[in-house]
């Protein structure tokens, strides 16, 4: 794939480094000349010194044949404009925009970045999970952090112990994926009975995490 990365701060630099290792073709656009020189020395990729918000700079970077454009500068308005230019002017199939200020996430989705990535919110969420509850672990997030696979250890006090799966009223958009009981992995069916100490793996919308947790563990 051919990717253009606009903005070579920490995020842009590591992204370029990782992706170029995966044999993708990368070009990087950066406004700061000394950063451009450092990257050109270290990585074998095309580095364009210029303002990525200007269409001609994007053209120099080869945007007409790009599959993906990732706008990861520190300025939200710049990232959004870059995504819009890529989409509307150059018909790039996929645009990823970094959201620096979580307040701007809505405007990103409304005004057309395909995939807004809100790093601040993601990190805050991870830290929040680490400090809040220990028996509830977020294993993985998908879809820009809207969907998650979580693991919950059923404590003795759980309200669903000794109940059949079919009798449990799960919150909307949540499913039980599997139950780990000792060495055994059980695919839950309607008549599966839950036991204390079971590890429940569930898929849920982020918004329904709390009701799911209340259901599985009881009110915290």
């Amino acid at each position: 794939m051919f990717l253009i990365i606009v903005g070579a701060g920490k995020v842009g630099y590591f992204l370029a480094k990782r992706l170029s290792r995966d044999k993708h073709t990368i070009s990087v656009v950066e406004r700061d000349k000394s950063i451009c020189e450092a990257i050109a020395k270290e990585l074998e990729i095309l580095v364009i010194h210029g303002d990525g918000c200007e269409p001609r700079t994007l053209e120099e970077a080869g945007i007409k044949r790009a599959d993906v454009v990732a706008a990861v500068t520190g300025e939200d308005e710049d990232n959004l404009i870059i995504c819009q230019l890529a989409k509307e002017k150059f018909n790039v199939r996929r645009t990823v925009g970094r959201v620096n200020n979580p307040d701007n996430e809505r405007i990103f989705s409304e005004l057309g970045a395909d995939i807004p990535v809100d790093a601040t919110k993601i990190i805050a969420k991870i830290i929040e999970e680490e400090v809040s509850f220990s028996d509830f672990v977020n294993l993985m997030s998908f879809k820009r952090g809207k969907l998650a696979i979580v693991r919950v250890d059923l404590p003795d006090s759980s309200p669903i112990i000794e109940k059949q799966v079919q009798d449990i009223q799960l919150p909307p958009d949540s499913v039980l994926v599997s139950i780990v009981r000792g060495e055994e992995v059980i695919v839950p069916k309607g008549n599966t009975i839950l036991k204390a100490g079971d590890d429940i793996i569930a898929l849920t919308l982020i918004g329904n995490e709390t009701p799911l947790l209340n259901l599985l563990v009881g009110n915290l």
Binding site: E77, I81, R106
Partner: protein
Amino acid sequence: MYVIIVGCGRVGSELAQLLSQEGHNVVVIDKNQHSFDRLGGAFNGLTLLGNGFDLALLQQAGADKADAFCAVTNGDNTNLISAQAAKKIFKIPKVFARVYDPQRAHIYSALGLDIISGTMLFASMFRDKIIESRFSSYLIETKDLGVLEIEVKDNLVGKLVQEINIPQELIVVAIRRLDGVIIPDPQTILRDKDILMAAVKVISLEKIKARFGL
């Protein structure tokens, strides 16, 4: 009218004062508190400190009941994003953005935003004042349409306006004479020292220069 202005620089503050003096309700947004000093003591509208595309702030500014919105900060991208928020999210009926970069101005006008950009206009005016002796052109930002000023002397004196017009390419819309402005008809005869104002297709400029020996 209820008008929101983002950016309280020279243009923004001037516009805010004009509208406020005419009795309109004006809200001005700027990131820098000191910018509001430009509004002077007579300004009786509201000022809000913050980012012009912060949706919560726009809500607070009354964006859902505003009649018009102007984004005139010195950042093209801020103006473009603010204007899109005003238009697409708050559905404000009249939305304008100032954009310095001609390329972005062109692209976003094509996408349906009302863009006001002086860059091309000023650059071409300066160029013509320096280089051309008998005409100057005011290129409109779309790069299709321009307005020409042609000074009449020697070879053009005594010609009819219809001899100057070129169908599909150039039309004389006004003549400035010592005694005033006239809107010509095809039979109007050109006099020495007339200044012709003509609407022109930009791609025809060179051809027109050659044709009239300008």
